[in-house]
């Protein structure tokens, strides 16, 4: 489907790692939207916040509470990283819902970069904080001794599968939603006068997609918090 095609902005259509493409444009727009909301929107620092400042404060409080509740109070040091990931994923998802736009988060390459950033930084953090004690995450001392090697293998596998599920969940949800809208749009093109039904369905799916766009950003962030908690407190 052409809405998922990566096309370079300049040149004869050949794509290199350095060529600016529509992915670049929409990523920059997500960054601009974040800056507009969080920096420009809160510039006045009004005691009685306006609408924009209210939204910014709500999101800030939301993510901050999530980090504190899920990952623990000592994880608030890493709040900037998590807030950045949340705002980027949320605005990429929401901007992708604009007609004729490009959803950067529907590409596994983008989400895998995000998920690998989280995975590598969390693993390094665990080893820096606890040294080899971080491996206690895989050696569950609460389980009976004969079971522990088996559980260690399972835990190790589930640990390395994390970046896969973390990235494909986001990309799959975004891609499936947009593909669904596209399929309904194709129905509307075929049916003629009866196209009212698919158009109503598109409106409903679109509303659902707005919800999914936010929830997937939320899920991405909360899983980051869960992984961070495992790195900070590897003992179960």
């Amino acid at each position: 489907m052409d809405q998922f095609l990566v096309t370079p902005l300049f040149g004869d259509g050949s794509l290199h790692w350095y060529s600016p493409s529509n992915v670049t444009v929409w990523m920059i727009l997500a960054w601009v939207a974040t800056v507009l909301l969080l920096v420009v929107g809160t510039r006045k620092r009004a005691n009685v916040p306006g609408r924009v400042q209210m939204m910014a404060e709500l999101l800030f409080q939301f993510v901050r509470n999530m980090v504190r509740d899920v990952a623990g109070p000592d994880a608030l040091r890493y709040f900037p990283l998590i807030m950045t990931a949340f705002m980027f994923v949320m605005f990429s998802n929401l901007l992708g819902l604009l007609p004729m736009s490009f959803t950067t988060t529907s590409h596994i390459a983008v989400t895998a970069s995000l998920a690998l950033t989280v995975f590598v930084s969390v693993t390094v953090l665990g080893f820096v904080k606890h040294g080899l004690g971080f491996l206690g995450l895989f050696w569950i001392s609460a389980a009976p001794l004969p079971l522990r090697p088996v559980l260690a293998v399972i835990e190790l596998m589930s640990y390395f599968v994390r970046p896969v599920s973390h990235s494909i969940r986001l990309a799959g949800n975004m891609m499936a939603g947009h593909a669904m809208i596209k399929v309904f749009a194709a129905f509307a093109g075929v049916l003629g006068v009866g196209a009212v039904l698919p158009i109503v369905a598109i409106a409903a799916v679109y509303a659902l997609e707005l919800l999914v766009a936010f929830i997937q950003a939320y899920v991405f962030t909360i899983l980051t918090c869960v992984y961070l908690r495992d790195a900070l407190h590897p003992q179960h």
Binding site: S165, I168, R169, V219, L223
Partner: protein, 78 residues
């Protein structure tokens, strides 16, 4: 009948792999349904457990995603 029997097998396999998503759908439904029944029994504790709800849904959903991944691999990577 003519055609590439290997591609046909891969596409059939991709379709079969997608049945795994049904299992994930059951799992997500169980998580959400049990959350709702628990929340209706004790509404005051419900708000503090929404994070657990989404973590549970995310983990249940992960296995549906793996079947989706297998389908994608069969269609595009083989």
């Amino acid at each position: 009948m003519e055609g590439n029997i290997e591609a046909m097998g891969a596409l059939i396999g991709a379709g079969l792999a997608c049945t795994g998503m049904g299992g994930a759908a059951i799992g997500v439904g169980l998580v959400a349904g049990n959350y709702l029944s628990g929340a209706l029994r004790n509404p005051s504790a419900a708000a503090s457990q929404t994070a657990m709800l989404f973590i549970g849904i995310a983990f249940a959903e992960a296995f549906g995603i793996f079947s989706f991944l297998v389908a994608l691999l069969l269609m595009f990577a083989l």
